[in-house]
Each structure stands twice: as structure tokens, then as C-alpha cells.
Symmetry: C2
Subunit: 432 residues, 2 copies
Amino acid sequence: MNAIHVGLLGLGTVGSGVVQIIENHQDKLMHQVGCPVKVKKILVKNTEKARQIEVDKNILTTEVFDVIHDPEIDVIIEVMGGIEETKTHLLEALKAGKHVVTANKDLMAIYGTELLSVATENGCDLFYEASVAGGIPIIRSLVDGLASDRITKMMGIVNGTTNFILTKMSKFGSPYDAVLKEAQDLGYAESDPTADVEGLDAARKMSILARLGFSMNVDLDDVRVKGISSVTDDDINYSKRLGYTMKLIGIAEEEDGKVEVSVEPTLLPEAHPLASVNDEFNAVYVYGEAVGETMFYGPGAGSLPTATSIVSDLVAVMKNMRLNVTGQSALAPQYKKQIKSLENIYAQQFLRIHVKDEVGAFSNITSLFTEKGVSFEKILQLPLKNENLAEIVIVTHKASQHDFEEILQKLNDLEVVHQVKSTYRVEGNGLV
Amino acid sequence: MNAIHVGLLGLGTVGSGVVQIIENHQDKLMHQVGCPVKVKKILVKNTEKARQIEVDKNILTTEVFDVIHDPEIDVIIEVMGGIEETKTHLLEALKAGKHVVTANKDLMAIYGTELLSVATENGCDLFYEASVAGGIPIIRSLVDGLASDRITKMMGIVNGTTNFILTKMSKFGSPYDAVLKEAQDLGYAESDPTADVEGLDAARKMSILARLGFSMNVDLDDVRVKGISSVTDDDINYSKRLGYTMKLIGIAEEEDGKVEVSVEPTLLPEAHPLASVNDEFNAVYVYGEAVGETMFYGPGAGSLPTATSIVSDLVAVMKNMRLNVTGQSALAPQYKKQIKSLENIYAQQFLRIHVKDEVGAFSNITSLFTEKGVSFEKILQLPLKNENLAEIVIVTHKASQHDFEEILQKLNDLEVVHQVKSTYRVEGNGLV
């Protein structure tokens, strides 16, 4: 049986992991696929650089065309990162009939629809399991489950950096800046942490999940995003007092054909399974109409989990090749994209407000909520030290995002309100 | 394209769910598999009985051979339960070249090896995803993951009834008997709850997981089992005081080619992800050498989750049929079975002892541990009301099961020891 030949774009830690797994598991791969697998060429920046793993120097190249146009190569594994240039290379590879496995969430979030449709046109597989929560087989589970169930909601902790930061803030009561610094020192956060802490990375992953789960062309622009950089230790302490844990939660929800996709710091009841997902771990909660609640938990990143996930995709491609059924990985979107308006997004809200400590202050505030028909689930009022102010913390019952934003604006205009310190969405009360 | 024909053995709630999913998802199934699926015959006890779903009476039969020897039927779905007779039927079906999908854990735990090997001999698929934790794709994830990783440990909450009982005991401080009664009234426990509460059901599932994860012919007899019927509310209260949650945990662990498989009430640190799996939910924690810790969480039973899982298996069989690659679902065990001796099973232990409240009592006890080189992580001593006794609770550092049992015997013989009230394994401190 002829070997299947693989070309790698990139040989960083993930790429090296892929090469090692393929070498160390030759027997098992052979058992699963029925033929040998061989890494034929690897694109690197510098062929002379010292590397952690031993690689035959003859298979290294600095020329991308040596890899994507090698007639013997069947599958391209992309682990070089980047967006525009990488997209050009992968389009070219797909048009040349190469199957593609990628871990590149940025690329898939922005150009996923285009790449998947070019793959289908050319009868090629394009798999991207490792792009969302590398260590969890969430994408495969969604695809498998979709055949016999309808997914109505997904809630995910899909960014390890922000989960690490919020876990530490919550555990030690430390302020955001100090924990971010610690995360950077430990290598859990990048020196420019913007994409993580502002929620962009999570938004990319949620758009990929939403597109797949709801079979709609959800774009990154459709995701409402709020990061964690303005979360204070006070916010976390007050939410703890009311029995909540703060997490950066991505939500993708479908109702009557309309979807909401968002990423924002969210309060969950302590008993919610996502509330105990700590440190750099990821988890995705999926609600299926038939199966009910399921959750997948695991490492979100890390070179070995990501490499393992890529090799699983490679195995899937190789099986399809041997069965002559490639080119079906991209199911064309079944439904027209419809994004929910703010009037139709309902959630509970947590607000922390500083008010002037005077008679009637509270009733001034509550009347704004009453006008909109929004009632309260929890209220906590405390005097503030050294100031003629009181702190009021409110958790509302469900309100539409639109009404809530109107209330917020009016609150800011109230004479008795010194400052609206913070607001957070509250999720996970009740079944979903 | 010719339709694939399915025969059902059984039409209870799960069977009815399967029929409904197949009917309601014809389009999606067609999209995934490329041909229609049709339920051709269904074995029932009484063709005239009123049913929750509408079924054409002409496809009902009371004669099993009408189903398994129908030449048009390609796949048999077994949802009738039972062991000996069902095994005979399925062997006959496999020999007649029918593929089989079953949710029957009792059958798979006892005769899985034989059935899988007959399936392979006859080029047939035999899938059983729904037999362990119906709503979680744990078996598929193990099979997929195994290609590129090595599983070293699995820890599972795989029985919903006992998890429901322990959750209620823990939450409300209620005694075992009262909660069991409540579970029976709610339909979460059977009128004869033995198989659940004595751990047999969980043991069956763990033997299936161990056989697959470690590629060894692990039998039900190889599983050490202890149920929850002797767990008291005192045990739960003391373990809570020390920061633990009690769960019925199945453990399957491999080390140097030797495995341990056990089911017993176990204490987990409250922060452990399995500790927050409550009520009737199931979860399986898997440790892979490359991927690290992952967890799958979901409903363990229920007719819709189980039916969904069966249809996923059916889809897998149908794909294999169309690709002409059936008969490979049963990987022959790669390794010779080796079960760890008690000398090689190490764990932390929790003990609760009533001792006579006299000088030297505690040092008498500790010296027994010191002789075996076992040290303590936590100690709690409290006087007991109305008695000349004290209560001592100890959590040891890791000790071999063999040494621990010797210590226990000697403790019982000590003059100062009134009674060893209970002992529990402690897991999940540290990474694993």
C-alpha cells in the first residue's frame, strides 16, 4: 500500500509535536488507516536553525511552493499562523487538490466560509478541529451530533489566558493588572495581550462554533464582544457575595432561526459546571434538543494537545482519501443568516451603582426599572467608607438588552446616581 | 440509491425514540450517509398494545427470526435488554451478516469480547456507544484519541442513580435510606436498586471503558467493586468538613502494562471537576499522555440521549457500509491482560474511627501506620456526645491497598479501638 505524504507549513512547537506524533505512532496510524504516513516536506524560515527535534535537513525548505506544489504530497498541515498570506497559500493548495488540516482560528474565523467552499469545489477535505479548544474534540462532536439532534445553545470558556486571569483574581482577590503581569511572566499571556483580554480570540472561536452548530454564515462582525480588562476585584468580590463566579463566556444561541453570538464577562451560579472550569482550561457546554446538556472540558491550547488534535484530523482525512469520499467536510450552510436584534436578546443583569446616600435615592432608581417592566432577583446595599455614598448591587430578572441599555442611560442621567460602576450579564440560572 | 433497512429488537421508550429520530431526521441522515434509511421490522411482545408513537402495525412482529433473518435488513438495533437470550439472538444476527448497534451494557460487559470477535469474523460492525453514559460520546472519543495518544487513566461517574443519591445526601444531610426512597418515588432508582447502589452497573461500564482504552480483555470479574449502601450521612458530613465531596467513582488506570479497575465511593477535593457533576448527570475524566486532562459531561441515561447515541452509531455503520469497510469496529486487544495486585495499587485513604477516650489511644493507632511507613495528610479528632469515646478522622498519604488492609485488620484488633466506622479512597489531589 502506498504511503500518504504530508507537507507541513511551519515547524514551531506545534509543528514539531505533529512530526513527533506521526513518527512515534506509525503502528497505530497504520492500524487505523491501513497505510503508512510520511512527512515529505516542511516549510521553515531557516533550514540551518537548531531544533528541539531531529528532522532530516533534506526535507526542510524555505520555499512554500516546494510544499504546496509537490505532486507527491496529499495533505498540507498548516501550523505557520498568519492570515492573508496563509489564506493565499491554502487556497492555492486546495486548488492544486491538496487536503488541508489547520489549527488557525484567526484564518478560519475570517475566511472559513471561502476556504471551505473552495475545498468542496476541488473535492478536498479541510479540517480545523484544533482551531477551537485544541484539546477538546468539540467540532467533531458537533458534526456527529448534528445528524440526529438540533443544537439550540452553546456556552464556552474558549480562551485560556482570560480564564487564568479571572481564576487568579477570584481566588486571591488580586487586581487585574497584577494578575495580567503574572500571567505574562508565566507565559500564559502574550506581551501584547489585547486579542485575548479584549475577547477577540474568544469571538473568533465562537463565530466558528456558531457557523458550524447553526449551519449559518456567522461572521466575526456578528459577534458582540466585551473583554475583561475593565473587570475590577470589587466586581468579583461582590459577585462572589451573591453566589456567582465570573467567567469570560462565549454564547451562541438560536431561536426561531435567529442567532445571538456574544463574548462577555458573565456571572454564573457557583454550582454551574462551567463555574468550576479553572486556570487555563477550556470547556464548551452544548444544549441539544434531544440529548440535553453536555459539556466538553480540556486543555484549550498547548503544543501537545493541539498537535494531537491535528493528527486526529489528519487521520480523518486519510480515511476519507482511502474511501474516496473527500470533499464533503464542508457542509454548505443550510440556513440564511439572521442575527437577533437587541430587542430580542434577553438576559439577567448584574449592576453595581454608587448612589448619593439620601432619602428617595433607591426609589428613584427602581422606578426606572419598573417603567420597563424589569424586576429584581437580588439586591445588596452597603454604605461606602469615607464618602457620602452608598453602594447598590442589583441582579435583575430577565430583561431585553435593548431595554437594559435604555435604563442604563437614564440611570447615568439621574441626579442621585454618582456612577454606574459596572454591569455584567448573568447566565445559567435554571436549566440553561 | 437503495435504502438501508433497519430491524429493531424492542420498542420501549428508547426504541420508540430511535424510530422517531429516524423519521424526523430523514433529510439530515440522507445528507450524511447519501441514502435513505428505513425501519423495516420491529420485534415486540404484543403487536396489539397501544403505543406512544404511531407505527405501521404491519412492521411489528413477535417473532425474533422475522427480524434477524429478513434478507433485506442490513442493521439490527438491539434495545430489548437482557443477557443470555439476547446474546444468542445477536450472535445469530452477526453470523447472518447483519451489523449490530446495541445500548446493552450488561451484555457488552459480559459477552463483549465474544460478540466483537464474531462481528469481525463475519465482516460486521458492532457499535455500542450508548452502553456507557448514553449522552456522552465517550467511546467514540476514546477510539479517535487512541490513534495518536496513550490513555493512562480514566475516572468516571457512570451511574446516575447513585450520583443522584449522593448529591441529595450531600446537599441536604439526609440519610441514605430516605434519599433512596425519594429516588425510587421519582423514578431515578428501580424498585430493586441493587445493581445500581452496589456498584455493579458502574462496574460493567468501567470494564467496557477499560477494555477499549487499554486494549485488553478486561472482564467484569477484574473490577473491584464497593457500592454506596453503607455510606452514612456522618461520613459525608466529615468528608465535607475536610474539603471533600463523595462520589461513586469508577477508576481504570494503567501503569507498566498492568491495570487497575475499580468502583467505590471516593472522596474528591471540592475543586475537582468531577466533584461538581451533580444529580443524575454522568461524566468521564480521561488522562491522555499527550492531550492531558479532558472530561466529557452529560446525561448518563434517558430515552432521548440514548436514542440519539444509537442513531449516531447507526450513521457510523451506514457510512461504513457505503464505503465497504465494515467489520473493523472491533480492534483486537493489543495487550495481554495483567491486573495489578493490591501491593501495587496506591491511594490516599480516609478513615473514621471511634476510639476509647484514654491516654495513649492516639499513639497506639499512629504506630500501626508508622510501622508500614504510612503518614497522615489530615487529622480531625472530636469528642463524641454521651459516650466515653472520641471520633478520629484521618486522611493518609498514599499507601498500598495491601498495606492499608493489613493496618485496618490490626486497628480492629486494638484494645483502644471501639470501631472502625468507615474507610474511603481519596482521589484527585494534585494533578491526577
